[in-house]
Structure formats: structure tokens, C-alpha cells
């Protein structure tokens, strides 16, 4: 990389302002950076430019020179809350497909938050919505999406027995029995007397025995 840069520098001694030349264009009116036609396949650069554009947009919309604190946005929070509440309402009424829609919308809304807003709050917010959405997926027997939501929850180290139970339920229903067994055992490590996990573990162990031809 460095060697390339040096070469470029040597070749364009007349254009001193730019050492590196990325295939990008800056539009002074929209203040948006776009990737040149030639580099459309550079997924990495694309992703990076997207992240930068998001950030500068947030910056431009900001009234002050620099965000004073990582305080969460006051306009988005009630909107997200509203979506989540209506999702939970739908869930309670047994309308899980509607609930899933509301939750997904809430997640989309939450992702509009500026990136400098407190991460702890954003994480907690996302996790709460994911848990609710995961339950609705389980209720609609959408195992793979349920698995994925629970997987992300456990990936962010929310090691609650509920999350282990969620992922295990999804896994066992897709025939991934040993995976389910491991999740349940791990869940029991943290909460030794969780009856729900114990029952589910019994079920999974029985299924494994059947799969093995032991029963």
C-alpha cells in the first residue's frame, strides 16, 4: 500500500494536493460523497462511504459545531417507543405477523439514530426489540429467524436463560438437536434451577436418543 502511494506521489509531482487518489467524487451542493463508476465493485469502499455519508449528514443536521454529548435523540425515542408498544400490543392479541412488522420497523427507526448517540442505550433498545421479535417468530414457527435473533442476542452477551431457551427452541425445531442441548446446558450453568430450561433439556435429550436409535 505504502509503496503504491509513494509511486503515485512520484508520478504526479505536479498535483501536490492529493497523495492518494480514491475513486470518489464529492458533490459540494448535496455534500454527499459518491463512489466512481470504475470502483463500483469495491464493496469495502462502498460500505465505508455509506458510513461516512451517514455521519456527515447527522453532523450537518446538527445545530452546534460538534455534538455536546452522546445524549440520545429526543425526536426519535418516542417514535421508536410507539412502534414497540404497538408491536407488543399486537403480540398480546396473538397477531404475531403484525407484531413482527412493528418490531422490524422499530429497529429500522432505531438505526436512524446518530452514531455518536450512547451505545449502551442503543444496544439495550435493540436487544429489547429483538427479544420481543424473537418471541413472535417462535410463535409463528419461523424458526430460522427466531434462531438468528436469539443468536444475535447471545452474540452481544445477553446471557439470560430466556435467550438460551429461545435459541435452543429454534434450533431443536430445525433438527439441530445437539446445538440445542449445548445451549440449554449452558443456560443451566448460569441459572441452575431454571425449570423451563430443565424441561426443555429433557425434551431435547429424548429427541437425541430417538435420533440415535436408543429409544
Amino acid at each position: 500500500m505504502n509503496i503504491n502511494n509513494i509511486n503515485i506521489k512520484n508520478n504526479n509531482n505536479n498535483t501536490t494536493q492529493s497523495i492518494m487518489s480514491l475513486p470518489i467524487t464529492y458533490d459540494p451542493i448535496t455534500k454527499i460523497i459518491s463512489i466512481n463508476e470504475s470502483a463500483q465493485n469495491d464493496q469495502e469502499l462502498k460500505e465505508e462511504i455509506d458510513q461516512l455519508n451517514r455521519l456527515s449528514k447527522d453532523f450537518i443536521n446538527l445545530n452546534s459545531e460538534i455534538p455536546e454529548s452522546p445524549e440520545p435523540s429526543k425526536t426519535l425515542t418516542p417514535l421508536i417507543k410507539k412502534l414497540v408498544t404497538s408491536g407488543i400490543d399486537a403480540q398480546k392479541r396473538g397477531k404475531h405477523h403484525d407484531a413482527i412488522k412493528q418490531f422490524s420497523l422499530a429497529i429500522d427507526m432505531a438505526s436512524r439514530r446518530s452514531r455518536w448517540e450512547a451505545f449502551a442505550i442503543q444496544l439495550q433498545e435493540l436487544n429489547l426489540i429483538l427479544m420481543a421479535r424473537c418471541d413472535s417468530y417462535i410463535m409463528t414457527k419461523n424458526w430460522i429467524d427466531a434462531y438468528n435473533d436469539a443468536d444475535m442476542l447471545l452474540g452481544t452477551q445477553v446471557n439470560t436463560p430466556e435467550n438460551f431457551l429461545r435459541r435452543a427452541t429454534a434450533a431443536s425445531n430445525m433438527g439441530r438437536l445437539t446445538q440445542a442441548k449445548y445451549d440449554l446446558e449452558r443456560g443451566l450453568c448460569f441459572v441452575e434451577d431454571d425449570e423451563r430450561i430443565k424441561t426443555q433439556l429433557g425434551v431435547v435429550n429424548r429427541l437425541i436418543a430417538v435420533e440415535n436409535g436408543d429409544l
Binding site: 469502499l45 456527515s56 450512547a118 438468528n148 443468536d151 452474540g155
Partner: protein, 198 residues
């Protein structure tokens, strides 16, 4: 008489060699050593040149450079955003380097990695420290005393972007898992589990 002659002859032969012997010997040994050391250094320098950076390309940094030095200058806020991105990436790398430090040291002590990699690791750490100093200097250029406000934002950006990336990976992970577990999706969107008894 005859005996005397032969001894004289051998002495002659020996003395004939003794003139060149030390010179030849020393020259040969020295050239061998010099050639060896030249080659060794050359290889080492080549290795240094060809040394790949520990991380892949630093796009946020490149973008920041590109925008900062472009003419006409982009909007100040765009530049600040680029600097924030650069700082967030630097934080990510610093964390990563610190995280793997015990692993690298353990591997080096076990003999699982060579000197080269260990040195590369240390170079990477130093480079990252330099990068941090550079970012601090850049920030100060915008306004003196901004650093304490800037830094907390960097971490939030670093983590939040990671969280969003993890979330947006959900769809790809789903497809990958379905493929790995040989689960087929029928036309009406229902999953077919290959090994599940009905």
C-alpha cells in the same frame, strides 16, 4: 646424498605454497563471509519492504486524507465526520491490537510464530500510537481543547457502527445457515427440515 635431495625438494614445495596460502585462505573466507552478510541484509531489507501491514487498508484514513487535501475543500462538517470515522477506526484497531497482545506473546513464546510476525505486531502497535497522535493533532487544528469532547464520541461511533453491522449481517447469516444445515425453502416460504422426523 640422495636423501638430502628429496628433503630439499619437499621443502621447496612447502615454501612455494606458504607464500599464497594465508592470502588465499583469508580472501576466500572473508569473501564468503561478506557475501553471506550482504545476502542476509538484503533479504532482511526485502522482507521489511514486502512486509504486509497487520491490518487491511485503512479506508477511513485514506478518505480523510483525500477529502482534507482535495480542492475545493469540502464542507467543514463533512471533514469533521471523516476525521471522526478515522478516529473510530483507530480506536477499533487499538482495541484489537491490545486484545491479541497476550495471544501473540503466548504464541511467540511457544515458538508457533516467527520473529518476523512478532516484530510486525510491535510495528503495528507503534504505528497505531502514531496514528492516535496524528488524529489528536488534526482535532486540535479544528479547535483547541476539543479532544475531551471528541473522544467519547469516537467510542460511541465505533461501537454503534459495529452493532449495526452485526444487525445487518442477520440476513446473510440466515442464508448461510440454511445452506449449511441443508434446509430448503419451499415456494410458499416454508422451511423444509431435512432430518426432522414428522
Amino acid at each position: 646424498m640422495a636423501d638430502n635431495q628429496t628433503t630439499e625438494q619437499t621443502e621447496q614445495v612447502i615454501s612455494k605454497i606458504s607464500v599464497f596460502t594465508p592470502i588465499i585462505y583469508v580472501t576466500v573466507v572473508l569473501t564468503a563471509l561478506v557475501v553471506f552478510s550482504i545476502n542476509y541484509r538484503k533479504n532482511k531489507i526485502n522482507a521489511l519492504y514486502n512486509r504486509q501491514p497487520f491490518f487491511k487498508r485503512n479506508l477511513p484514513k485514506e478518505l480523510h486524507f483525500e477529502l482534507r487535501d482535495s480542492d475545493p475543500k469540502p464542507n467543514e462538517k463533512v471533514l469533521k465526520a471523516a476525521l471522526l470515522r478515522r478516529g473510530a477506526e483507530s480506536i477499533r484497531r487499538t482495541i484489537k491490537l491490545k486484545e491479541v497482545q497476550p495471544f501473540i506473546t503466548a504464541l511467540y513464546q511457544k515458538g508457533s510464530i516467527g520473529d518476523d510476525l512478532y516484530e510486525r505486531y510491535q510495528t503495528a502497535t507503534k504505528l497505531e500510537e502514531l496514528e492516535v497522535q496524528e488524529i489528536v493533532a488534526e482535532t486540535e487544528k479544528y479547535k483547541a481543547g476539543w479532544i475531551p469532547k471528541f473522544v467519547p464520541l469516537l467510542q460511541e461511533i465505533c461501537f454503534n457502527e459495529a452493532l449495526r453491522r452485526r444487525y445487518s449481517a442477520i440476513e446473510d447469516r440466515k442464508l448461510d445457515l440454511l445452506d449449511q444445515w441443508e434446509i430448503k425453502i419451499s415456494k410458499d416460504g416454508i422451511l423444509e427440515f431435512p432430518n426432522k422426523e414428522k
